[in-house]
Structures are given as structure tokens and as C-alpha cells.
Amino acid sequence: MKVILKNIEKEGYSPAISSYIGEGGYAALRQALKIGPEKILSEIKKSRLVGRGGAGFPTGLKWEFARKSREFPRYVVCNADEGEPGTFKDRLILARDPYLLIEAMVICGFTIGAEKGFIYIRGEYFEVYEILQKAIREAEEYHFLGRNILGSDFSFEIDLYRGAGAYVCGEETALLDSLEGKKGQSRVKPPFPTFVGFNNKPTVLNNVETFANIPAIILKGGEWFSRIGSELSPGTKLYCLSGDVNTPGVYELPTGISLRELIEKYGNGVQGKLKAVLPGGVSSGLLLPSDLDVAMDYPSVQEAGSILGSGAVIIINDTHCMVDLAKRCAEFFDYESCGKCTPCREGTKRAREILTNITRGLGEVSDLSLLKELQEVMFDTSRCGLGQSALNAVRSSLEKFPGEFREHILEKKCRLGICPMK
């Protein structure tokens, strides 16, 4: 079942507007213009689509809030910052089927009453920027974008904006600040962007993959979509399989597929012996081999004690030291913290320091309880998702591999010989 990659996975499909139209592209837009905003909203709500950017918020509700607000102008923003390590799914859509995204954004604009959209592209995605530029130009030539779209009185334009390499700018409010030309740092929430977004106006902000589901929902109906995959959180999901797996890559599969099936059937098995899995990238908690039967949808992964996030499934085999892994995660967040709030700015710094000390044989037993407390306080008090989840992986490696930590601290030994221990 392919909803998102149906074109991309077709033999000979190339990112050109003629190919897209050839595959039925922009039929959804015509349909949308015909059925009108209220019907579009009800289909999306019926689909029970939730955001694919990490937070899992119901998309239909988000659009409805923006549509019902009283302020104008309104904006549509696509989050194409894709900065989470281990995530490389949005890039596939952006580079190989950009018209799908454009079509979805136009439909969104039409639904919420916006005439302007932005795509915020990860700074490192150079080629994507050029591809999108071309795609927008073509869409305008075909009147799928621009003034009086397909002869209607609806007009919509899309601007491209390139990030400058900050992971935190993937967080929606930091992204909006960055888009406004400010330093990318999170805003106080509430108010949420649907009410007070770009230039303080109502803004729908969705992930690339979230948008990519919209045309199919319009064409085939919310009802149809809601029957795909897991009952709890339907649809397909792009899973980014990476790490110690035989065939890494992006796999579109119905939600609710088991982690085991994902690894074995699609990843063709683990390279070496499985030790742990990060199901939602470095901001998620570790799952163990005993968790392999978890269904890969948002609620089920959460129940298993982790998060699905953007779907960055990182496979870790037994050649990796979990102390070293925890340290690397902490390094990433220390580097990427925006520095605005105290717990994250100072906490990531200290977590990295403590873990580095442990890998150098300088750890103390009290470090473990301090790290736990730090994780709890950072979760409790950090201003945005970055700080709140920064020590998730650290905390779970501490809890699930206590022996390795004890060995590093008490015996000053890294059994895999990875940590320098001096």
C-alpha cells in the first residue's frame, strides 16, 4: 500500500511536472476546489491523519483551528528542516516528487484561507532547493500555483526559505522566528502557531510527509485512509531504517507494522547481534530485542516507553558501547541546544561532561543518580521539545544497560574497548 511514494517507486518516474500530471497529479486540487473547504476538512478529520513531524498532532484539527480564527492574512508553512539524526524521508519526497508537496500546500491554503506559503528547507539540502525552485516555476506555468489557480478566484504563492543548519529550527516556533528573519529560538506556547504564527498571524505548519498524504485523502476519502494500517493511528508511515541493518533506507509501510517485521522483512535483518533500537531517533528512548513485537504507530511505541517521532529507526548491534552511545547523544544536544532556557543550555552541557568523564574512567557512582535527576528536571522544565527530550536516550541507556555503566565507573573498564577510559 503506497500513499506517499506511489509515484517515486514507479519505474521511470522522474521529477517533472509532466510525469506528475501523467500519474494523476493535481486531480486532488481540482477536486478540492470543487468540494470546498468544509468538505476538505471533514475528509481530513475522518482520515484521522496525525502529523508526521514528531509530535503526532491531528492534522484536521490543526487546519480547522486556523480556518476558524478571525485573523488575516493566514499562512501555510511546510517544515522541511529534517534535522533529526537518522531521518531522511522528507528529502526523498522533496527531491523526487516535489509536485505532491506543492499540490498539498495549495489545498491547505485553499482550505484555511491563506494566499501565501513557505517551505523551510534544511540548509544542507542544496539540491532540494533547486529542484523545488524549478517545480514551483513549473506549477505556476500550469496555473496550479499563482494567481487564479485553475481559473478559480483562489490565488496562492509559495516562497522558499533555507535554514542555516540549526537543528532547533525544526521546532515549529523556532522555525517561525527564523522564517521571520530572527534568531531561531522557540516561542512561549500557548499561543500555538495555528492562532499566532508567522508574523503573529494564523499559520498551519506541517511536516513534508504530513502534507504528502493530503492529495490521496482528498481523492480517495478520509474513510479510505482511516482503514489503512493501525486502528489507533491510521495511514502509512515513512520509516527511515538506519544503523546496523542489512538494507537501510526509507520504507513506506502501513502504521502498526511490528518492529520485528520492519527490521527482518524490509531491513533484511540486523548486521550482527541486535542490542537495541532507537525507534524515533536520538530524542527517543531505547527499545530492547524483547520489544520487537511493538506495533510501529504513535500510541503503541509510546506505550513501550519510547516515541516514534519522525520515524528514524536506528538499529544498534552489540559492537556498540551504550555509554559511548549516550555520550554521543548528549554531545549532539549540547551542540544543538539553542541556549535560550537554562535547563537545556546548561543541562546538556553538564550531561555531556558527566558522560565524557565516565568514558574516561573518571565517573563516580553518584553521577548516575545525578544524570537521572537532570533528565527529569530537563523534561519537566525545558522550554521546547529539544530540551525536554534531550536526555531520553541517555536515561534509557542508563536504565536498560546499568551493567555497562557500573563497569565503566567501578571497574574503569569498557568491555568493548570503545571508550578511552583515560
Binding site: 540549526a166 532547533v168 534568531k183 512561549v188 549540547d334 551542540y335 544543538e336 541546544s337 539553542c338 541556549g339 535560550k340 532556557c341 537554562t342 535547563p343 543550555r345 546548561e346 543541562g347 546538556t348 552541557k349 553538564r350 561532561e353 558527566i354 568523564n357 553518584s366 545525578l370 535527576e373 537532570l374 528536571v377 523534561f379 519537566d380 522544565t381 525545558s382 522550554r383 525536554q388
Partner: protein, 590 residues
């Protein structure tokens, strides 16, 4: 009346308007939630996370300063979870903070140190150590920034942009490398900073302070060939008592004079003498501009923070500024000419020390044009360019003066009241109120009225220009002319009036501007804390002092009358122009 909301805080039920934050609501039940980045006069920043509280039904703690109350909300401010979080957050700040409280300027009043104590932090579990060490910004004549002590609360940034409309500083870089910096790290002296020092007042730590000259002043006092005179600005007497734990707004004029004398200076004079002189020149300048159709509105020029602001932001409006120097500079010019001559002292040996509520005065005293005395004596004494000296030698803030008094153990609180020395210590009630917003306007009106009408002004209080309203207006009838005046304090208010001037839409004849909120009594050199309540108390005490003065109009000051008779001739005379008036400089934004 806005909608009311019911909630409980720590079990206490209360009802507050809908737009109230939990932080404000908690005050109603006598809980001051610990905080760092929150500040009463600034926008909500919500980043220190010290003020977090527990709200029933929410997965995480929430910052009380940035969370609005909701119907039925149950808030807890004192649970183990909250207290643990607050402690750890402050502990994290301390881990990154230099351990030099002993020698820190803020030792006694640091909010971070106090918070750590109040929260019961008695052990530091994180490794001590900063990863980054930054250079101090010592480029400014007024302000020193030590980024190593910065806890990134953004109060300085917010006061500078929100209250002062300057925006000289901003955060740059990310994460642990975040720093408050000037444009391209050029240093405060090389950007549009006005030296107002409001950032110092709001900083919770020792990261911002005045550039101190205490040692140089001690040296001058100790030097046998130097004749040291001090002048104290009006606002100092309403505030310096706070440094000795007296209640805010205690009027300590006599004790202050006594304390300064005990430091060993030769004469204790009063900037209020300079203020009366300023009024003589400025009131006449106004009358002349009106009579001769000169540039109007005329705008006051006593506040050096304001002067630097207009030079940077409205360089095309400089001809609206009164050419009068500030009272501090007029005092310096007269001390080293008239007074030096009277006592037959070599002006090079006469040292003028100012005690000011202001950090911008330090910059003002070092402006290249503030060397009128040197030019005055140049030929008479055969001075060369390298002998150049300033009209005012050293400027101390109120805080620095208090530190000197403390250093030598003077029992300030129990000192007897002493008088200023004559003649440069003689002043009127009009000069006292220079320290409060609207005071210069009121003093100028008292004199201008009598100069123009030749009649005695019976009701000398101009209530319309008093008080803490950001912009105040009044209309005064002068021999048939209806004189329109306005008063602004805080540079964002000044900006509003200046935009009218720039567009040639200003309805006023005369405008008073003070850079600091409340006027000089809220200056960047005043005791910390300075807040809205304290500013009001200081203002009240200045108006009380005015009421008690036997003479309350500048032109009736006998020492000023004598000065004109013996030396200056008349207001706006040729000599006045040489010594008491000045020029301004167009400046860029950065």
C-alpha cells in the same frame, strides 16, 4: 471589567482577571515565586525556568510568569518536584558561574547569590567550570560588561530595546556559546549605546557595572597639591540613603554633605548650583528662540544619555537641542574659572569630582568638547595642546560614592546634618526637582514666566508635568502666548515626541527629555534595586525638599546673581557662550 477566573494556588482559592499570569496571581496570596528572568517593567521572556510551578493535569511543570490562569486551575508552587527543579536549575547556573563572589561588585545584592541561598543550595553537584572564557567589554567610558558572569536572562537586552528603544545589545551564537554582544562585537563605545546604565539596574548579577574611578578619586584626595571639590546631583540625595539601609526615598542631603566632607575633599558643593545656572541660560534661550523665531520646539539637553540617543537616532534634529551644557558641565566650567580665580588656584590643580545618579555622565565628562576651561585658560597660562584637561575630572555614581563612604567606615546613618560650602553649594528649590522627570520643565517655567511677564509667579507648582506618566503635556499662558510643553522620560517615550519633531508635526514649544524612567532619580548609577515603587518615593522626597527651600526660583539664587554680576555679565553673554554652551555631533547607528 474583564472576565474573572477562579483557581486555587497551594490550596488557597482566589479570583483574578482572565489575563493574569500565575506569577501575578500568586502574589495575591502572598507568594513571591522565585525567578530570575522575570522583571516587572519588561516583557515576559520565560527562559530562566526558575519560576516553574505544578499545574494539575499538565505533564510538565510550567513557567508561572508565562502561563495565564484558567478557570478551575489547581496550581502548586511548593511541591518537592517544583523545589527540586528550581534548585537544580540554579545549581546549573552556579556550575557555570565564576566563583569570585568575594571580589564581585554585586557581592551584597546579587540576585543569583541570594536565590541560591534562599533555595537552600548548600552543595554543588556539577563539576565547576566554564567551557568558554570571554573578554570583558571595557570599551565604554561608562559601562563594563563581564560576559563570564552573564546568566542569559535577557533583562539588559529587553530594557535596552523595550524601555530605551536603543537595541545596542543582543544575544548571538547558540547553546552554551550564547552571549550578549554588541553589533559585530564592536564594544559598547562603538555602537549606539547611550550609556544610560538601565541595563546595569536590571542585571541580576555582576555581569554589568559602571566603569569605576574610585581609586583615581582617592588618589586626587590624597594628593597635597590638588584642591578637590565635589558636586552632587539632586537625585543622589534622595537615594544614597538606600545604600545604608535607610528606607527608599529618605532625604539625606545633610548627612551626604557631612559624609563627603569626611572623605577628605576640600569643598562640598552642589550640582544644584549648576542647575540653577542652567535654568538661567536655558530659560533665556527659550525666550529668545520664541522671540526671534528660532528652531522650535527647543528640547532640554541635561541628560547625556538622551543626547547620545538623539545624536544616533535623530541626527537631523540636533538644532532642536538647547545649546546649554548640563548642570554637571556648567558647574565644572564655573569651578575652574570663576571659583579658581576667586581663590587664586591654578585650574590645573583644581579637581572636580561629580557624584551622579547616572552612568552617562561619565561619558559626557569625556566628550572632547567638554574642555572649555582649557580653552579659557590657554592663552592666559600659555598652555599647550598636551596640557589639555577636562572641565570635570571624575564622575562617580551614587553607588560608587556610597562604596567610598563604606570603605572608611563612616557611620552614615548617624551623621549630623551639615551644609554645603559656599558659594557653589547654594541652590534653590527649582534646582532640587531637576532630579525628577518634569523638574527641569517646571524650574524653567518658573523662571521663564517671570522673565517674559515681569510679574511674580504666584502658584509655582506645575502639577501637570509631575508624576510617572511616560509623556506629560501642559499649556502655560505667557503674556498672551500659549506656551505648549511636553515632558518625556525613558527613551522609548522620547522617541514618540522626536518622531513628531522629525516630521515637523510637533505641536510644542519646549520639550523636556530625560533618558531614564522617572528622570535622574531612576538613573543607571542609582542604588540597586531601582523599581517603580522606589522611583516614586525618591520623587516624593525631591518635591518635599523643594517645598522646604526658602528660595524656589533659579533666578532668585543669590550666588547665581553674584556670578552674573562678578563674572558672566548676563545670560547668553559672550562668556556664557564660551563656557556654558556646547555643540552636538551627528552619529551613525553603529
Amino acid at each position: 471589567m474583564s472576565e474573572l477566573v477562579n483557581l486555587t494556588i497551594d490550596g488557597y482559592q482566589l479570583q483574578v482577571p482572565k489575563e493574569t499570569t500565575i506569577f501575578e496571581a500568586a502574589k495575591k496570596v502572598n507568594i513571591n515565586i522565585p525567578h530570575l528572568c522575570y522583571h516587572e517593567s519588561l516583557s515576559i521572556y520565560g527562559a530562566c525556568r526558575v519560576c516553574v510551578v505544578e499545574i494539575e493535569g499538565r505533564p510538565r511543570l510550567e513557567p508561572s510568569c508565562a502561563t495565564l490562569v484558567e478557570e478551575g486551575m489547581k496550581v502548586k508552587t511548593n511541591t518537592a518536584r517544583v523545589r527540586r527543579a528550581r534548585r537544580m536549575i540554579v545549581e546549573l547556573l552556579l556550575a557555570n558561574h565564576p566563583e569570585d563572589c568575594f571580589t564581585c561588585d554585586r557581592n551584597q545584592i546579587c540576585e543569583l547569590r541570594k536565590l541560591a541561598y534562599d533555595l537552600g543550595i548548600r552543595e554543588l553537584r556539577f563539576e565547576k567550570g566554564r567551557r568558554y572564557h570571554y573578554e570583558m567589554d571595557i570599551s565604554s567610558a561608562s559601562i563594563v560588561r563581564d560576559p563570564n558572569k552573564c546568566i542569559q536572562c535577557s533583562r539588559c537586552i529587553r530594557v535596552c530595546s523595550e524601555i530605551q528603544s536603543v537595541g545596542a545589545i543582543e544575544f548571538v551564537n547558540r547553546g552554551g556559546r550564547t552571549q550578549v554582544l554588541t553589533f559585530f562585537n564592536k564594544g559598547l563605545n562603538n555602537v549606539e549605546c547611550t550609556n544610560c546604565g538601565q541595563c546595569i539596574l536590571v542585571c541580576p548579577t555582576g555581569a554589568l557595572r559602571e566603569k569605576t574611578v574610585v581609586e583615581a578619586v582617592w588618589e586626587a584626595i590624597a594628593s597635597p597639591e590638588k584642591f578637590v571639590v565635589v558636586q552632587t546631583a539632586p537625585a543622589v540625595r534622595s537615594a544614597i540613603g538606600e545604600e545604608f539601609n535607610l528606607p527608599a526615598g529618605s532625604l539625606v542631603t545633610g548627612k551626604m554633605a557631612a559624609a563627603l566632607r569626611r572623605l577628605g575633599v576640600d569643598k562640598v558643593f552642589d550640582t544644584q548650583f549648576g542647575a540653577d545656572l542652567t535654568i538661567m541660560e536655558e530659560a533665556h534661550e527659550l525666550v529668545e528662540r520664541i522671540r526671534n523665531r528660532g528652531t522650535l520646539p527647543m528640547i532640554t539637553s541635561c541628560s547625556p544619555g538622551w543626547i547620545k540617543y538623539i545624536e544616533h537616532f535623530f541626527p537631523n534634529c540636533l538644532e532642536h537641542l538647547s545649546t546649554c551644557k548640563s548642570p554637571q558641565q556648567m558647574f565644572g566650567a564655573i569651578a575652574k574659572t570663576y571659583y579658581a580665580q576667586k581663590l587664586n588656584i591654578d585650574p590645573r590643580n583644581l579637581v572636580v569630582v561629580s557624584i551622579m545618579p547616572c552612568t552617562a555622565k561619565k561619558f559626557e565628562a569625556k566628550r572632547p568638547e567638554m574642555c572649555s576651561v582649557f580653552h579659557y585658560w590657554r592663552e592666559k597660562l600659555g598652555l599647550r595642546e598636551e596640557d589639555r584637561f577636562f572641565d570635570v575630572d571624575f564622575v562617580l555614581t551614587t553607588r560608587e560614592a556610597a562604596r567610598m563612604i563604606k570603605e572608611v567606615g563612616i557611620d552614615f546613618v548617624n551623621l549630623p546634618n551639615e551644609d554645603f560650602d559656599t558659594p557653589l553649594g547654594v541652590s534653590t528649590g527649582a534646582a532640587v526637582i531637576f532630579g525628577a522627570t518634569g523638574g527641569v520643565m517646571e524650574a524653567a517655567l518658573r523662571t521663564a514666566y517671570e522673565v517674559v511677564t515681569g510679574k511674580t509667579l504666584e502658584k509655582i507648582e506645575f502639577e501637570q508635568v509631575r508624576g510617572m506618566e511616560g509623556i506629560k503635556e501642559a499649556e502655560v499662558s505667557l503674556n498672551g502666548l500659549s506656551l505648549k510643553v511636553a515632558v518625556a522620560h525613558g527613551l522609548s517615550n522620547a522617541k514618540v515626541l522626536l518622531e513628531q519633531v522629525e516630521k515637523k508635526e510637533s505641536p510644542y514649544h519646549f520639550i523636556e527629555v530625560m533618558a531614564c524612567p522617572g528622570g535622574c532619580l531612576g538613573g543607571g548609577g542609582q542604588p540597586i534595586p531601582t523599581n517603580s515603587e522606589i522611583r516614586k518615593k525618591r520623587a516624593d522626597s525631591l518635591y518635599r525638599e523643594d517645598e522646604g527651600k526658602p528660595i524656589r526660583k533659579s533666578h532668585k539664587n543669590p550666588a547665581i546673581i553674584a556670578l552674573y554680576e562678578e563674572f558672566l555679565d548676563k545670560p547668553l553673554s559672550e562668556k556664557s557662550h564660551r563656557l556654558l554652551h556646547t555643540i552636538y555631533t551627528k552619529r551613525d547607528r553603529y
